[in-house]
Symmetry: C2
Subunit: 265 residues, 2 copies
Amino acid sequence: MTGRDGGADIGPIGNAPVVILVRPQLADNIGAVSRAMANGGLFELRLVAPRDGWPQDKAWRNASGADRLLDAAVVYPDVPSAVSDLHRVFATCPRPRHIVKPVLTARGAAAELRSITGRDLRAGLLFGPERAGLDNDDIACCDALIRYPLNPAFMSLNLAQAVMVMAYEWWTAADQTVPRRLMTNETQVATKGDLDNFITHLTAELDECGFLRNLPKRPGMVRNIHHFFQRGEATEQELRTLHGIVTELALGRRQRGRSEDAKGN
Amino acid sequence: MTGRDGGADIGPIGNAPVVILVRPQLADNIGAVSRAMANGGLFELRLVAPRDGWPQDKAWRNASGADRLLDAAVVYPDVPSAVSDLHRVFATCPRPRHIVKPVLTARGAAAELRSITGRDLRAGLLFGPERAGLDNDDIACCDALIRYPLNPAFMSLNLAQAVMVMAYEWWTAADQTVPRRLMTNETQVATKGDLDNFITHLTAELDECGFLRNLPKRPGMVRNIHHFFQRGEATEQELRTLHGIVTELALGRRQRGRSEDAKGN
């Protein structure tokens, strides 16, 4: 990932959609685009008439190791030649006017791209130049437009950011990670029995020290303590630590108690 | 959006999560972060011990108009002071080790952030410095980690890209846009009756010119033509154009036919 000589091993290429930058202006941005593509598992880059020519060192300097993707980038003179071997092409376009076209969200597009490439068809994603965006002839070559749901009061999106969102959605469309899990590393989640053992230990010491001396309130207090420790999703290791804390605090109290008893004598 | 004097009107502030950059190194990145935040409707930026001090002109130059967000950014000496008024804090962290912590996907985190802020609690998102990432003490201040599902062979994410993904997910978590719609602008989607009128018109002309002269095959051919035009989700305007095309093509043929008849005489 941090290798520079020839860049990083960025994963298998496969049939992921091709990213096509139409008349990109800044080589910095082309480099940042390649990095975002590698992040999201998009590996084939095409450039339509890059303003400052190609290749440009600046792109490699801004690619953070996604060199192979830039090394393999191909330049085309226009959009029709850049898409001619593809079966479906979607274009990102924030504010299309006066045209009749299907409009997809980024997430909707990612799902359709997975479906298209899953049928062994080749798909492409068109991104317009930094300032002007795609023109109407570019858009006429596309099957659908992609419009990101974003703050309508501030839709000005950097080119690499636009690619990042789409690459992220492409990757996520095939990802099975659960939305929330507890990372426990070396230990594991404690069972209810483990937790009960701890609550029993704690309660015994709280009875001993007098914290639970109000007997009518005792059941509710014990229950509230139980509620709190339940919420923390304790691991086995953490319960061992909590047992130790209770034991040591109680021991300290008993020793103080003894020394105070001694003083009192 | 392109205004520079005091920047753009980036929308209402509300109770969106606070973005906290911990020991950020490059002012360029801080500017790019502010732009990404504005894209996704995150408006409050806090900086913990920025390496080169604050303010830095470069940040404003890279913000593409999200100036107000930078103008209002507040600097803190450490993470505990930056999060002290918040109720829940999530930290983006690609490769956490040896800790016990809930881990959320970006999408899972966005859903939880919507739920948290919907209860009028204040939430924060912690992003680490460009190279080193968050340290273990930073992470200990957080409720959960966020880990983006991305290409495991290339996880090196630019700081502004990391903020972009989270801002995008935050916005999308409350967005109702349908995944696919047909943008029709001035016209509207044609009814089945409109489409049938066109197919009838086309079929009549195809009968007339002899294209459908193979009578046993005629029903299947008409059906296949119908299938194709069905798939195009025609608008009323497009059907008018198609009627015109058929009429003109047929007229041209008839006129040629007449002149050929004349020649034949």
